[in-house]
């Protein structure tokens, strides 16, 4: 109840805000919304498919250039905006088919490589304006009315972000969302229980690219000018920072992460451009903020802002969910390996309940209680299956000697043994 109230409050405030903001702040509002839209995709990919993409800005660029090129060549701008996510998703499917065989740091570098290749090609392609950039993109016109003012774009961005968050919520709460989470924690176990892991992973990759492409399309019409320099590698890293800081695998995380970082950088920017500050101050401050926030979040708040805050307000979700959330999310945060499945059995057990709690929380927001109930039960049964796999004799020795690498085998075992009883009653309780 309190959750849906919060949701309405956030929606009302963000809708009421644009007319009250001066021009300069309005552009911050728009860019924040676009960043949150892309970050929603990154969060989905990292939190639910367990993969790091350091090239998300490439899909942002593909969407932007698709919309921009179509508009420049005379296509109606609405068509351009709608085709932007399609172009990005198609590119993601074509690239993902070979690339998603890779995992972990290999995939991270592969996506980074894709972005570098794309930037280099865009910089040389005269058809795309080359290094100078694509100029003269008309403004967006909807049903004959041309959007000239920033305020129109602010509402477009609001609608885009709302659609994207709604889609992510539905994906997460769906059967395929559960399957994805299972695959992120243990691919073997998921595949063994009949999840088409490769296909789902490709689908999430394409979906996250589509989000980025849609944001890129709006960006193209908003700025009216695109250059390869607008999509640096650092932008991809920014999206990762926002996703990690906000909280991977949560619905509100991307919005919170993007808001925190964009506003903080804006604040420091105005601080850095004060008279008397050296000319390099703004860029130095923003680099430092990205770096320190990312490191602090990963080390001290591995689940991100949203789940951490939620833990302090357990009553904000339904009573049933909170009683199960409390112990499991504490257990999850004690292991530093939130989004990644590289650890031993302990981390898999720790991560799934965390994700599950967010699902329970979200479904209660929307108020479809029967569906929410069954999906939570479904997830916990997956969790049971996963932790069984982690401790199975076949996987045991291997993961003991390599998986728990960074730490101490003794503590790792201790952790998992304290955790398993806590997660087992959870699932029993929820199934009952």
């Amino acid at each position: 109840m309190r959750k849906s109230l919060l949701l309405f409050a956030v929606a009302a405030i963000t809708l009421a805000l644009p007319p009250l903001l001066p021009e300069r702040q309005l552009s911050v509002y728009i860019l924040l919304g676009l960043a949150a839209t892309v970050t929603a995709g990154v969060s989905l990919l990292m939190g639910y498919a367990g993969q790091v993409s350091l090239g998300q800005a490439a899909f942002y660029a593909i969407g932007a250039y698709a919309a921009g090129l179509l508009a420049v060549h005379g296509a109606p701008s609405l068509i351009g905006l709608l085709l932007a996510p399609v172009a990005a998703a198609v590119a993601a499917v074509l690239l993902g088919a070979p690339l998603l065989r890779l995992r972990g740091h290999h995939l991270a570098f592969a996506t980074l490589a894709v972005q570098l290749i794309l930037l280099s090609l865009l910089g040389q392609g005269t058809w795309a304006g080359g290094a100078i950039g694509l100029q003269g993109i008309p403004r967006l016109s909807l049903f004959g009315a041309e959007l000239r003012d920033d305020i129109g774009y602010a509402y477009i961005v609001w609608a885009v972000l709302a659609v994207v968050l709604l889609i992510s919520r539905n994906v997460v709460a769906s059967r395929s969302g559960r399957a994805l989470r299972a695959a992120a924690t243990s691919e073997t176990a998921a595949a063994a229980s009949g999840v088409p892991v490769g296909g789902y992973r490709l689908a999430v990759f394409a979906l996250s690219a589509a989000f980025a492409g849609l944001a890129g399309g709006v960006y193209a019409f908003y700025l009216g000018y695109l250059a390869p320099g607008s999509f640096p590698v650092l932008l991809s890293i920014e999206f990762v920072v926002m996703a990690v800081v906000g909280g991977l695998g949560t619905i509100a995380g991307p919005l919170v992460g993007a808001a925190v970082i964009v506003l903080l950088v804006q604040l420091l920017n105005s601080l850095g451009t004060q008279p008397g500050m050296p000319s390099y101050a703004p860029s130095v401050l923003s680099y430092a903020v990205y770096a320190l926030l990312l490191i602090a979040a990963v080390r001290y708040m591995p689940q991100g802002i949203v789940p951490t805050v939620r833990r302090f307000f357990p009553r904000s979700s339904t009573a049933g969910a909170s009683s199960t959330t409390q112990p499991s999310s504490t257990a999850g945060s004690s292991s530093t390996d939130g989004p990644f499945r590289a650890g031993g059995s302990s981390s898999t057990a720790g991560f799934v309940p965390g994700g599950e709690s967010s699902v329970a929380g979200v479904s209660s927001t929307a108020g479809f209680v029967p569906g929410g109930e069954s999906s939570a039960a479904g997830t916990s049964s997956t969790a049971g299956l996963v932790s069984k796999d982690g401790s199975s004799p076949a996987a045991g020795p291997e993961s003991a000697d390599r998986g728990s690498s960074a730490g101490r085998p003794g503590v790792g075992k201790e952790r998992s043994s304290t955790e398993r009883p806590s997660s087992a009653p959870d699932s029993l309780e929820e199934r009952a």
Partner: protein, 286 residues
């Protein structure tokens, strides 16, 4: 023919730089399982520092050695942040080193500004078999090859090197026989920092360095290292040299604009082929 020889030698010189960055990655990855994204920053930092020391009047060899030593210390600091907290898994550490790489941007801009920097290397032009190349490329090769030989000897002959190799092959067993795996991890980061720094000070006289040239360095270094599955320094050397020669040949024969693409496509192909050969399910190996 002399053109070809010239491109070949230049390429070997550039490739040696990639190989050094790549071997730094390998040194760290073997022992800790972490792919250090801040590896390129070591090179940039050392190069910038060398230029400052040279302007301050220090003689050549001394400034370079000092910069490499500082890079090693920075390596340890990166290691402390990245793997210092027990139980940090490699994926998380990768994200932390990513953050440290961005943090290095801030430090570098404050200390050295955002303009490209360079400093003079070995002056003069050498003639090898009719090909005239900058003598500095020969210096790069002349330093890199002994460094790799010393690395090989270090890993196979000394106790410390053997302890590092032990952590690399089986961390659990290494702990059982009393090797402090975390200290070895930090040592590996120091080694990685020194190798990265060496790459920076060696290649900067022939290639300018800016605060954000670490992306190119790390990607090329990773491409060199991934050929050997990120675990074999010798293969990283071969991979780096091949990459350097390929890029120089492409640039030399008129496709200069596409040299980065070729290197990256090569890396992607190698990784995809490796993934296809080892099969889709490899989670136990992580």
């Amino acid at each position: 023919m002399s053109d070809f020889l010239g491109y070949l030698l230049t390429g070997l010189g550039i490739g040696a730089g990639f190989a050094l960055v790549g071997s730094g990655l390998v040194a760290i990855y073997r022992v800790t399982g972490v792919v250090n994204f801040a590896q390129g920053a070591f090179a940039v930092l050392a190069a910038m520092l060398t230029s400052t020391l040279l302007t301050a009047g220090l003689p050549h060899v001394l400034s370079e050695l000092a910069a490499v030593a500082v890079a090693a210390v920075v390596g340890v600091l990166v290691g402390i942040v990245a793997i210092g907290k027990p139980g940090t898994d490699p994926g998380t550490s990768l994200i932390i080193t990513l953050g440290l790489g961005v943090f290095a941007y801030a430090v570098e801009i404050v200390l050295w500004g955002d303009q490209p920097r360079s400093f003079p290397g070995l002056p003069g032009v050498a003639t090898v078999g009719g090909a005239r190349i900058q003598a500095h490329y020969l210096l790069i090769l002349g330093v890199t090859v002994p460094v790799f030989l010393a690395l090989a000897a270090f890993f196979s002959r000394t106790d410390l090197g053997k302890a590092l190799s032990a952590c690399a092959s089986n961390r659990y067993a290494a702990r059982v026989v009393g090797i402090d795996v975390r200290r070895m991890g930090l040592l590996a980061f120091a080694l990685g920092g020194a190798l990265g720094g060496l790459a920076g000070v060696l290649t900067t006289p022939v290639q300018q360095v800016t605060f954000d040239s670490d992306v190119t360095l790390i990607v090329n270094g990773f491409a060199a290292a991934v050929l050997g599955g990120l675990t074999r320094p010798g293969v990283a050397l071969v991979g780096g040299l091949l990459l350097g020669v390929a890029q120089t040949l492409i640039a030399g024969y008129g496709w200069g604009a596409y040299q980065l693409e070729v290197a990256l496509l090569l890396m992607l192909t190698v990784m995809i082929v490796q993934a296809a050969r080892s099969g889709p399910v490899r989670e136990a190996a992580r």
